[in-house]
Symmetry: C2
Subunit: 217 residues, 2 copies
């Protein structure tokens, strides 16, 4: 496998296939076809086959894939058999929601530190025997707790400053919830989460449904 040549949209789709396979296996499926996956996700089965073919052959034409084997293969591709430690900066409602989201541990992502500069929050006990720490302890704790991912849940105005601090402290991956475009150096990865994109996509499907039913957009 030559990971360097894998396009980013393929990576995103592989992550979706992964979730899809997990849920199929939970529902008792042992065999899946590219068409099963494609139908569930609303994409072309030729696209699914193409994405999987980047990494050699998992399945047999006409027979499909062993669901377990495929999940294992996709997981390996995605570097998902290892665990990752992350921290959250900004313990407003969003930071709190993430700190309490159990789904991440199941996927190998462990929250190891929580930061906020609000004096009324510092010291608050949190799940996992964590407490909320002041930002001036970030560098030290990122190092001590081997944290490689930082989640930005602070207001947009301070997001770049926090990202710079995280990266200077050794973090190599950023999940950004702030509604700003952040600049990061080569060798650091970032994922921006913008909820309004999801809302727009939903609104768009709803408009199409109206078109299908012969109403004006």
């Amino acid at each position: 496998m030559d990971s360097q040549n894998v396009p980013k949209p393929t990576v995103k789709r592989l992550a979706m296939y992964h979730r899809c396979l997990e849920s199929m296996i939970r529902n008792g499926r042992t065999n899946v076809s590219s068409k099963d996956i494609a139908d569930l996700l609303g994409i072309k089965s030729s696209q699914v086959r193409k994405d999987l073919s980047y990494f050699g052959e998992f399945g047999k034409r006409g027979v499909g894939y062993s669901a377990d084997r495929l999940l294992e293969g996709v997981s390996q591709i995605l570097g998902m058999r290892k665990n990752w430690n992350f921290c959250i900066v900004g313990m407003g409602n969003l930071g709190m929601a993430l700190a309490n989201y159990a789904g991440l541990e199941k996927s190998g992502f462990f929250v190891r530190a929580l930061f906020d500069n609000n004096p009324s929050k510092i010291g608050l006990p949190m799940p996992g025997e964590l407490t909320i720490e002041p930002v001036n302890r970030l560098k030290r704790l990122v190092h001590e707790r081997e944290i490689s991912i930082g989640v930005i849940a602070v207001p947009g105005e301070v997001a770049q400053e926090i990202v710079d601090l995280l990266i200077a402290s050794g973090v190599r991956g950023i999940i950004n919830f702030a509604p700003v475009r952040l600049s990061i150096p080569e060798g650091v990865s970032i994922e921006d989460i913008d909820i309004s994109v999801t809302f727009r996509s939903l609104a768009f499907s709803m408009s199409l449904d109206q078109v299908r039913q012969g109403k004006r957009i």
Copy 2:
């Protein structure tokens, strides 16, 4: 422009162009050609040009389109510049974060009602002159406030029940944060949001970076 005279296959393709453009812009593109879009979607670039020409000229031959301007134009065509009212069910940390997220209004999505059954939350004042209401008022408020989108921020165990209630009340679009697959009838649209997909996608990029630097995943 009269949306009614646009052939349905064109509308469908415009939908695809819209998604495509959004993702290109997210990835930092500022200029796109009809060929870029065509190649990504596996259709002819002459078709893309023809579809876009229904609505006047967006770009220049040989130069391409400004990605932002084209997205704006396609959005207008698709009726995506209208406003949508939504409600949030489940006022835990996530619901609170969404109720306070200003980015949605900018995109035309207005929160009009907030629901929770926790007695300690009912009646709490919230931004936009809203208060948290008990779920037994949902049907009435969805109707009165012309709410067409419902956000599910409740635990997985009660998510299907809430979705059924929302749809029976007239909602046609669902944004689902609960980590369960929900069943919805024909004519209703849904978008699932699973944060762990984003974490996995990040972890994968980080693993790829290590590969590029010659380390093992």
